[in-house]
């Protein structure tokens, strides 16, 4: 665990407290049961904004606290532990795009609204089922954006989209020329394909050529933070279970095969934590972001994949039931693994960044 400042520790404790008390997994079950396409509890999100969590990376001048990504990651991790459904990650990433590429006017217009929770925003980048920022066809002419985006996270709750076009990123508000097709994925959260048909678009002129890549790296590290919380929660639940489940007159935890399995997963989780924390810190420092973000998300993919599978396996039959929570983590895990780069994409990217 990274060394935290006093503020960070307070923030983390507050998030942990809130997530355990106000947003345990049973709250996610309610969201699922409600079956709304938006797939989050608006009151809960309002409370999160009230506590300042959406504004963590936003400068004070624009209504945020300017604590940075490491701090945002602490909150996101805690929310990941209880599978809290909210557009916090999506909005934070969208805010980072505006921070990196927006004009003063765009920042002044949008950042306070994002920080206050009034506006939910999200990225609309990929046009197919895989992360592929090099294959963008969406185009803009005369301020009108046209194209099709696939599997956009939190699309239903969002009223502002950060959309990738051939020549850069644009802000598009939900309204004329924007239509959604719901895509229901295993995680039962909000996803949609979006058709932009001549929708009014405003370019993010700043940020240079690397803007899209920089934004994706921020998406990677923040998603990785959510995944870290999920991995930790499944690991902890599984460890507890092994310490109490009795078979062959002894607790399962006394079997060496399982001790070693858990030791391996613990080592993996330790590696994942280091990688994720370093990714978040790299964004804050601005040094080596691409490489650190790639490592963070690749490790998050690898380790959460393993832990979510073992979480089911080591619980035996109970792990297979809908009544038990581990399956929810598995189903969300694969969606996040596919987001902003699958493990094969990230390995390839790492090799390229390293020059081989």
């Amino acid at each position: 665990m990274a060394v935290l400042s006093e503020e960070q520790e307070m923030l983390r404790n507050m998030a942990r407290d809130w997530a355990t008390k106000e947003s345990p997994v049973s709250e996610f079950r309610k969201v699922r049961a409600a079956g709304q396409p938006q797939a989050y509890n608006a009151d809960a999100y309002a409370a999160m904004a009230e506590m300042g969590w959406v504004g963590i990376i936003i400068p004070e001048a624009h209504g945020g606290s300017d604590f940075g990504f490491s701090s945002a990651g602490l909150v996101v991790e805690e929310l990941g532990k209880t599978l809290t459904a909210s557009p916090l990650v999506a909005t934070t990433i969208a805010a980072s795009a505006i921070l990196l590429g927006g004009s003063d006017a765009q920042k002044a217009k949008w950042l306070p609204r994002l920080a206050s929770g009034e506006t939910v925003a999200t990225l609309a980048i990929d046009e197919g089922a895989h992360c592929d920022p090099s294959a963008i066809e969406t185009s803009v002419s005369g301020g009108k954006l046209t194209g099709k985006k696939a599997f956009v996270h939190e699309a239903h709750g969002a009223s502002l989209f950060v959309v990738a076009a051939k020549d850069g990123l644009y802000l598009v508000e939900k309204g004329d020329g924007v239509s959604l097709t719901t895509r229901k994925l295993t995680d039962q959260r909000s996803h949609a394909d979006i058709q932009f048909a001549g929708a009014a678009a405003e370019k993010l002129e700043g940020g240079g050529d690397s803007l899209l890549g920089d934004v994706l790296d921020r998406a990677r590290v923040l998603s990785a933070a959510e995944m870290l919380g999920m991995a930790q929660a499944v690991f902890d639940t599984t460890l507890d279970y092994l310490k109490q489940r009795v078979q062959f007159n002894q607790v399962l935890a006394t079997f060496q095969a399982l001790q070693h399995r858990m030791a391996d997963l613990f080592a993996d989780l330790t590696q994942m934590r280091s990688a994720v924390e370093a990714g978040l810190q790299a964004v804050d420092s601005g040094f080596g972001v691409a490489r650190a973000a790639t490592i963070a998300k690749a490790e998050a993919n690898r380790v959460l994949h393993a832990i979510s599978n073992q979480g089911i396996q080591l619980h035996g039959g109970i792990g297979m039931t809908d009544e038990f929570n581990v399956g929810f983590y598995l189903k969300r895990a694969r969606v996040l693994e596919a987001s902003w780069g699958s493990s094969s994409y990230l390995r390839d990217r790492f090799a390229r960044l390293s020059g081989y």
Partner: protein
Amino acid sequence: MPTQVESDVQTSEDAFRTEVRQFLATNFPDELKGTGNMMAGLDGPTDENPVQKKWREAVGGRGWGTPTWPKEYGGGGLTKGQARIIEHEFAKVGAYNPIGGMGVMMFGPTLLEYGDERQKLEHIPPICRGEIRWCQGYSEPNAGSDLANLQTFAVDKGDHYLINGQKTWTSGGQWADKCFAIVRTDRSDKHKGISFMLIDMDAPGVEVRPITMISGTSPFCETFFTDVKVPKENLVGKEGQGWTIGKRLLQHERTNISGGGRLAGMMGQSLGDIAKKYCETGGDGALVNKVLRDKIADLEIRWNSFLLTARRAVEESKAQGGVSEISSVLKKVGTKLAQDRSELLIEIRGFQGLGWEGDEFGDDELEDVRGWLFGKAATIYGGSTEVQNNIIAKRVLGMLDHQ
């Protein structure tokens, strides 16, 4: 030059092949081509339509769904060679075997070995005709991997037993007509106190509660027994012999889970071909994403050696008789490969391979997602992977706890 015996076998096999083809031409309706056997699935029965019923009766009537089982109990009375001919010829025209389920896979072979004459005559023919659905009453809340810890108790009441207790994870319990169960008849000995009994699922005092699985379906149940009367003639073998019989059944279960045929069916299309539909290829037809390509090749190589191992196991068990000792290896490897394949399929398809429902997903895509989730159970049931590892280490390799 073939010997006289070999050429006789050849001629009789050719004749049999012709007979099977004729049977298919007369009885197998085109509209069932490529559809599946409803009894074999764990996801529960859809109502059988008249065409399916007719097909089941045609195959069941000849005992060809259970080709190697003895004729006197309704089986086909055929050799393994003839059974393979049936399998091949059916597959060639896209015909499924309509006789299946736990009765065929595990209970039948066990009863043939341990049942008395009256029991075999009563229970085997309806299995061969696909008329009776069996479920497996083994696991209990505190008896999973440690199955012998089961506590469901049968009290001797003279002409019948009175059963009380709870089973769990009973696959298909809500649809089954009968249950083969292991229950306790003696508390003084963990293994020797177990007996193997047959229970009517509609007997008074049997209650099932379906459990929803992570894949969204409810293919298994909690099963409660409250003062359920079981006639004495439903005891298989002797009192106290249940652990031996029950374990024998588990060997059949394991072999079936990993049987090359079943998993080969699951593997279906080559992953490489699927990947070419979802991912970019270069001019030479090779996948552009080299990492993914490498993963697919790795899986398919391992899959091939699994098929070879499965074939070798069949040949060896034919030579030696009985269930091969490789069955634990096959169970552990085959189920893991099937899981790895499902995972890779998701990576190949991206978000399109993670659909829960909706018209924008193909039926195959949605089925594969549910299959991916359901498939997580394959390394848990039928003796978990960890239990198979223990069997391999201790029984096959002789790595005992105290040496």
